[in-house]
């Protein structure tokens, strides 16, 4: 019988074993290094959403509407945001601005903050206190409300802020708990449609009759679903009142 090298931890490794162990060490380091690169290089594109700090602070005047999520329909814009644009508002972190927007519902207000942008999805993270949202002088114009009928749509419910660029990636199942926390904090929910709806990919999603997104829908956040609901264009924004009884998981 041949004498096999026997390793004892506190003694020098036997000569014949050294080559094998050296090879194992090199293989381990090279293997983990290769795995690190491959796994890192295999990450999916998180999308184009981002905080647009490069735009600088944006200040506009518009009509506040609780859909029930706070939306501003711009009346006096600036170089970047034009009158007639409508976008959702949110506060810092995973918080909405419902408390500040509700007293201004239907009134003119000045809104100031930083924009989050993802394609044609706009959202503004307003500044704290009155600097971010305050009543403005003037008569609030009527906001056009155009019912678009009942629609069956396929896509994903997300929290609007992370989707718009507060996080990259800001959608998908790995992000579901974060999205739920945002929605619980009154960040407006967005439905990302698999097909353009009246030219829009992103829709504000609410419960039936202008209520908040029902809690039953939270189980389906970040999943690919099909559901029905009434669609309404409010100013420049499409609002879909999802009927939670019709939600089905899609392939």
């Amino acid at each position: 019988m041949s004498e096999k090298p026997f390793f004892v931890g506190y003694l020098p490794a036997p000569g014949p074993l050294r080559t094998f162990l050296l090879s194992a060490c090199v293989l381990l380091i090279a293997g983990l290094a290769g795995a690190g690169f491959l796994m890192g290089a295999a990450q999916d594109d998180p999308g184009p959403g981002a905080f647009r700090f490069d735009y600088g602070r944006q200040t506009v005047v518009g009509v506040v509407e609780m859909t029930p999520y706070p939306v501003i329909h711009v009346v006096e814009g600036n170089d970047r945001i034009k009158p007639g644009d409508s976008f959702m508002m949110t506060a810092g972190g995973k918080s909405g601005v419902d408390g500040r927007a509700m007293p201004l519902n239907g009134q003119l207000a000045q809104v100031s903050g930083v924009v989050l942008e993802r394609g044609d999805l706009y959202m503004m993270q307003v500044r704290g206190g009155r600097n971010g949202l305050q009543a403005a002088e003037g008569e609030a114009p009527e906001i056009a409300v155009e019912p678009q009928g009942r629609w069956q749509l396929t896509g994903e419910i997300c929290d609007g802020k992370c989707l718009a660029g507060a996080m990259r990636p800001g959608r998908g199942l790995a992000h579901k708990a974060c999205a739920n926390l945002c929605l619980l904090g009154d960040v407006p929910p967005i439905f990302v449609s698999s097909q353009p709806v009246l030219g829009e990919e992103f829709l504000l999603v609410t419960g039936p009759g202008g209520t908040r997104l029902p809690r039953e829908a939270y189980d389906f956040v970040a999943q690919y679903i099909t559901a029905e609901g009434e669609l309404t264009r409010r100013g420049d924004l499409l609002v879909w009142e999802i009927d939670t009884d019709t939600i089905e998981l899609s392939e």
Binding site: M1, K4, F6, F7, V8, G9, Y10, L11, A13, L17, F20, L21, A24, C25, L28, I29, G31, L32, A33, A35, G36, F37, L38, M39, G40, A41, A42, Q43, D44, D45, P46, G47, P48, G49, A50, G93, K94, S95, G165, M167, R168, P169, G172, L173, A174, H175, K176, A177, C178, N180, L181, L184, G185, Y218, D219, F220, V221, A222, Q223, L249
Partner: protein
């Protein structure tokens, strides 16, 4: 071996082991964090916090995979045994990498809300009734708790305090942790991957763990088991090799290591008092049975470690019937001296005093 507890009993092999381990982990993280983004053509980069969380999470999975492959690889090929030697350090480092992963996740996905991030972690997703969308974070929490328990009890103090059988069973939690990590990954990141490179690597890693364990089990499945009762046949006297052992599995599942030393046979329990390492796969060095895992040593006649060490293993009685060596399945209390059985025709010499390790 030591007669007192110190944080780490460093020796050159441990330094080399830890250096290789650190180099491998550093290479993984450096390439994931700083090199791989250059290969991505994303319009906007993944958030640094998410990128970091993914890097440390993926690294922890790979480290766990390697750790779990070492055991069966060493059972299939003894040359891998040195990789077992300092595996506890590998495990502790894996725990720290996993904690870093959880830190990034907690401080990003669960931060910035009005609720406490730890509370948010537990209640934000309550979709327990479905597979897709199941709160996969819970599997990660469970795995992390397992890893922390294993890391906290990895020191020899706990081994001695809990006793090796209890400690060993406790450390089987590594399998629960790995299963939980696999579920964490499967129900989390794998559900939304468009690029399937990570999926393939995850499945290859998990498959390696499963296949190696099955192969090790397969290779040992024909290990003959003795019948219950007195005196069990081990093998003909001529089948023993000087300085090495034959291992016999008893009806109660215990294994006995029967060593031939200087022409005389002695039997001790196969499980080392340190970490249940397979003493029968060791050899006799300086007249002492030396465990292949960590080098703990025992006098083969008494099962006692040489002074000043205090470890002891049970001994067994042997007899020779014709040419057949037989062992009695009733173990003597640990440290009980048993007269060795001389083999006919073999030269016997007085046993020199063994040097402490």
């Amino acid at each position: 071996m030591s007669v007192k507890y110190t944080p780490v009993q460093w020796n050159p092999n441990k330094w080399i082991y830890d250096a290789v381990m650190l180099a491998a982990v550093a290479a993984f993280l450096w390439l994931f964090l700083y090199v791989s983004p250059e290969a991505l053509d994303h319009e906007r980069a993944v958030d640094p916090q998410i990128h970091n969380a993914r890097a440390f999470g993926a690294c922890a999975f790979m480290m766990l995979t390697v750790i779990l492959c070492i055991g069966p690889a060493a059972r299939l090929d003894k040359r891998f045994l040195p990789l077992l030697y300092n595996r506890r350090h590998f495990g502790v480092m894996t725990t720290f990498v996993a904690i870093t992963h959880s830190g990034y996740i907690l401080n990003w996905y669960f931060n910035f809300s009005s609720s406490d991030k730890y509370v948010g972690l537990l209640y934000a997703n309550s979709s327990f009734g479905q597979i897709a969308g199941f709160p996969f974070e819970l599997f990660g929490i469970f795995a992390l708790i397992c890893l922390m328990i294993l890391a906290a009890t990895s020191h020899d103090f706990w081994l001695k305090f809990l006793t090796p059988p209890v400690w060993k069973r406790l450390h089987y939690l590594i399998y629960a942790a790995y299963f939980s990590v696999a579920a964490h990954i499967s129900l989390g990141i794998l559900q939304e991957q468009q690029n399937h490179v990570f999926t393939v690597m995850f499945m290859a890693g998990a498959a390696a763990v499963i296949v190696l364990h099955l192969a090790a089990w397969w290779s040992e499945r024909n290990d003959p088991v003795s019948k219950d009762g007195a005196w069990v046949k081990v093998g003909p006297a001529s089948s023993f090799r000087e300085g090495f052992a034959k291992i016999k599995r008893l009806a109660n599942g215990d294994r006995v290591a029967i060593f031939l030393m200087e022409g005389q046979l002695s039997a001790i329990a196969n499980a080392c008092a340190h970490q249940n390492g397979p003493l029968g796969e060791g050899k006799i060095i300086d007249c002492l049975v030396t465990c292949p895992w960590h080098g703990f040593q025992y006098d083969v006649r008494s099962g006692r470690s040489p002074a000043p060490f205090t470890e002891m293993v049970p001994t067994y009685r042997l007899r020779l019937v014709g040419d057949m060596v037989e062992v009695h399945p009733d173990a003597n209390p640990p440290g009980t001296y048993v007269d060795p059985v001389p083999l006919p025709g073999a030269a016997t010499e007085p046993t020199p005093e063994g040097e402490p390790a």
